[in-house]
Structure formats: structure tokens, C-alpha cells
Amino acid sequence: MELFDNLALGFATASTLTNLGFCLIGVLLGTLIGVLPGIGATATIAMLLPLTYKIADPVTSLIMLAGIYYGAQYGGSTTAILVNMPGESSSAVTAIDGYQMAKKGRAGPALAIAAIGSFFAGTVATMIVAVLAIPLIAYALKFSTSETFALMVLGLIFAVALASGSVIKALAMVVLGVLLGLVGSDTISGDVRFAFDIPELYEGFNFVAVAVGLFGVAEILRNLENERSRDAKIAEIGELYPSKDDWRQMAGPTVRGTLLGSLLGVLPGGGAILASFASYTLEKRVSRNPKEFGQGAVAGVAGPESANNAAAQTSFIPLLTLGIPANPVMALMIGAMIIKGVIPGPNVATENQSLFWGLIASMWIGNLMLVILNLPLVGLWVKLLTVPYYILFPIIMSFCAIGVYSVNSNVYDLYTVAGFGLLGYILMKLRCEPAPLLLGFVLGDQLEENLRQSMIKAFGDPWAMISRPITATVLLLALLVLVATLLPAVRKKREEVFVEEE
């Protein structure tokens, strides 16, 4: 079977000693930074991204990045459970019941349940990606520029719908991101736009610098706000292994969460966040004693964690088949691929088979490493939580400065870090989420290019372009999602869902 040949190729690529080694380093570093309170997976990856540039082989560097990703995610869950300080909204759900379990002296089982649930979800979702990738790519290869344009619009609209807070603000953030993504030379005419005669900006803003500023620096600033009043209380770990009763209770939620997450992860625009919320709501509905939720329910940890991880995996599908990132983390992956000379999209699977399947296999390996590595090491990560924040952030800032500068030895990239750090922090204070901006930034120039080419192909007739069946369907779907998000009833429900995380 072709599938097994492909997977075999993938595992052969991913399990060379070098690649396994870098995956391991990635998982360790990802957990190390991800476990720091208040620093989410996106910020972690943004900070560690520069480290992967010095690796010559793009396969190895992407595998290391995948390792960082899983480590960061797991690190985030650890912090959520132990100190009730989720780094980002997807682990906010885990914090609800995870922290309650920890307070009752069951932090160990909560961490183990999160890890085991994630591993199960990861295994299933990896298989799903492997099975679906080829047929979806065959389909995607038939797409013309107008379909790609429509899908990008859909992805951006989903990002808006799934952002917490005001819809209009999220929309404005996407639009601002698109404009910022256009800075630099125009691919079609060669004109340099919005660069204010600064030669260093002719290539546009450096993606890593933007991400580090927007997520890393802005996040650090936010953590410095109330440092005088904050003291993290860390729960005791206690017994690590789940009891028989826990195993029984987690089985159903894990399976349901995995299926739900796999499905939602494919949506462009932020499936992982939606998945954990949806799974939590679902478990609460189907539970025999819903009152347990919020008091340390096993299902409240197992379900969302599995859903989150499954979605994280299947969100590689839109990335690998269409080149459209499903969330900011995938946007970072795209940035990394482009810098490594790999253009994400359907052609990767055919032109660079070992990279494609190696990446899929490394997802599973990354997951496995998490379970065997992080459960025994949990004591070490907890120690790290006791290191005061004021020691950590100067270290993080120094690493960021070195990392960003070493990408192309361009001092303007460091000014970009500071500029976007300030912008990100101010917008964050004004209740605008940075994630839609980053997605807009990544897709900006491709959005324009696809639109312009489609219009030329359609002889300047917008109707001819829009009325192509797939384009029309996708654009209509985007419109429906947008309208639905703005409807008062949905808006109220949406606010409720996001309030639950507080």
C-alpha cells in the first residue's frame, strides 16, 4: 500500500539519529520555555524559531520546530494545571478542571491524563493526516488562483470568528496584518511599497522579528504589569499515575475529544482553540454528573487536552495541502519553511516527499517523546516554575535579540522586534488579539497576488472570477461565517464560551 510506503519513508527520514536528536532538543526547549507562566505556545515558538535556522537541512530544522511545538503545548498545559496560569486560550480550558484537581492533591494524575490523552489523540490524528493528505492534495492541485484566494479569505474569516473579544476589532487586526504584510517590493510590478526609503525594508518586515515582537515581547510586557501583586502558588505533585477509576473516566472523553479535535483542526483559522472549548462543552453535556465540572472533573482535562492536541495535528492538513495556516503556530511554520526555501502548498508532497512524510512522522515521534520524557521530568519543570519571573525575562530578551539578529545579521530586524512589541502590547491593552494580525501578515502578499492573477484570468470581470463553483462556495461560506459571527444571538453565545475561560 502506498500509505505504508509513505509512512515508512517518513519514519526513515524522521528517525535518523540527527533528526531524533534535534526533535528531542526541540521538545526539551519547547517545554522549558512553554512551562513559564504566561508564555503560550506561539510566543515560545517565536522565541525559539531563530535557533532552527542554523540547521542546514530543512527537514531537520522543521522536525526540530515540530518538537518545539509539542513541547510548548505540553509545557503550557503543565503551567495551566499547576499554577492556573494558562499561556493561551487553548490551555485555558485545561486550567479550569486541571487546577482544581491539582488543588485536591491530584496534580500528578491530572498531568498524566493530559499527557496520555494528548498522546492518544496525536496518534490517531497523525494517522488521519497521513490518510487524508494525498487525496486532499490531489484535489488542491486542481485549484486555481481564485480558489486559493477564496480559501485564504475563509481562513482569515475563521481567525476572526474564533478570536475572543470584539469581532470588529479582530477584523480590523486581520486587515492591518494584510497591509503590513504588503510592505516591501511588489512581486508583480517590482515596485517597492510602504518602505519609506529604508533599504532594509525592501524585502518587507522580517517575519520572525514580527512574531517575536508581537507575541514574545508584548507577552513579557503584559506579565510585568502586575508583578508587584502576583505570586504564583504551585500545587504539590503527589502521586503521578492515574488510578483505575481515572482510566475508566478518561477513556470516553479522550476518544470523543480526539474525534472532535481532528475534525475542527482542519478548519483554517484556529481550530485548536475552538476544539478545546467545544470538547469541554460536549463533555459537560454528556456527563452524568455535570456538577463535577469546575470542581476537578477528569473528563474536563482529558477531553479538551485530547481535542486540542488532535486539532494541533490535523491543522497541518491545510498547511501542507494548501499552504494556508490554521493558526498562528502554523503561520510560524510557514515562515520557517519559506526561509528554508520550501514553499508550502500542494507541491511539497510531490516535490519534497521526504520532507512531507518526515514531518508527519515526526509529529508522532514528538508526541511519543513528550510522554516518555515529560512525565518523569515533571519534577524538574515544576522547579522551573519556582524561578522568579524577573530572572527569566532578561534571559529571554537576550536570547530573542541574539536569535533575531542572527537570522540575517540585519539590525532593522531588531528595531522591528521593538516596534511590533510596542504595537502588540498597545493593541493587546486595547483588547485586540494579536493572532489575527499575524495570520493577515503572513497571507497578505499571497492574498494580493492570487487576487490580481485571478482578475487577469477573468478578464477583469469580478463576477466571472467569483462564479467559479468552488470559489463561489468558499466565499459564500466565508460570508456566512462572518454574518453569523455578527448576529446578536451567536455573538452572545460566543461571548459566553469565551467568558468561561476567565
Binding site: L171, L182, L224, E225, P394, C400, I402, R431, M455, F459
Partner: protein
């Protein structure tokens, strides 16, 4: 419900988007607009800037209607020291060389926290300098010069 005073954060937020929109629109007009069939480099950004201005205006208008949540205090001290540290590194890494530049960058960033003392900051900066020099420059071979021309070399 009408109220007399606008919600300042939301008003500011709308204003920021409008300013960005105007800036990009003005810049777009410096380029060839083209026509819908063959869009010039100015066409798409001009349209998108227009959308941004409209969205900014809506947010600003809503600030007169809805009461927003308070935004809490700003991390002023953090902003000064944290934002300045990558700029300091950028300005000095070639002149001072890696070792001195990263030492002062780390030292500078340390003071973003109210809890930092001189002694702690010095120890931390020395540790960061030693670690990054050994791991990043000597170990990973990142392209930095350890000392720069400003130090008389």
C-alpha cells in the same frame, strides 16, 4: 443607549486603525493604481486601507455607545527597558562586539522589573553573557565578533 463620554480605550483603538489606514492609503496613492483587470501595485492596498479606515470608524463610533472594560495599568517601566534592549543590542553589537553588547543588553533588560536589584542584575548579566558566548557563538558558531572596533581593536 446614548451616553455623553466616549469609552477612551475603544476610541483610541479606532483611531489607531484609522491612522494606519490613512497612512497606507496615502502611500498606495504614490503607486500606479491600474484597473480591476490589471491591478497596479497601488490598487489592492488602497482598497484594503479603505476597509481598515471604515472598521476603525465603526470601532470609534461604538465607543460612544458601549462602555468598555477598564484597561488596567501600563507597564511603563517594562516598556522603557524591555523595548530599548533589542534596540541597544542593534546599535552596539557591531561596535562593541558580542560580549560587551549582550552584557549591557541583559543588564538593561533586567531593570524592567521593580524587584530587580543591582547585585542580582549584575550576576544575571554575567551569567547570560557567559552562557550565550559559549553556547551561541563558540558552540553553535553564530556569526558574531566577540569584540568590536569601539574597544580599540
Amino acid at each position: 443607549m446614548e451616553k455623553s463620554r466616549p469609552d477612551i480605550p475603544n476610541l483610541a483603538c479606532g483611531a489607531i486603525f484609522i491612522v494606519f489606514g490613512i497612512l497606507f492609503a496615502w502611500q498606495s496613492l504614490q503607486h500606479d493604481l491600474g484597473i480591476a483587470l490589471k491591478m497596479g501595485p497601488g490598487y489592492f492596498p488602497l482598497v484594503v486601507s479603505g476597509i481598515l479606515i471604515v472598521l476603525g470608524a465603526v470601532i470609534a463610533a461604538q465607543s460612544f455607545r458601549d462602555e468598555g472594560e477598564p484597561i488596567g495599568e501600563f507597564a511603563w517601566r517594562g516598556m522603557i527597558f524591555i523595548l530599548a534592549s533589542p534596540i541597544f543590542f542593534a546599535l552596539t553589537v557591531r561596535g562593541l562586539g558580542f560580549v560587551a553588547s549582550i552584557f549591557f543588553t541583559a543588564l538593561f533588560a533586567s531593570f524592567a522589573s521593580y524587584r530587580m536589584t543591582w547585585l542580582r542584575a549584575l550576576i544575571l548579566a554575567v551569567a547570560v553573557t557567559a552562557f550565550t558566548t559559549v553556547v551561541f557563538v563558540l558552540g553553535l558558531g553564530l556569526p558574531f565578533r566577540l569584540t568590536g572596533p569601539w574597544l580599540g581593536q
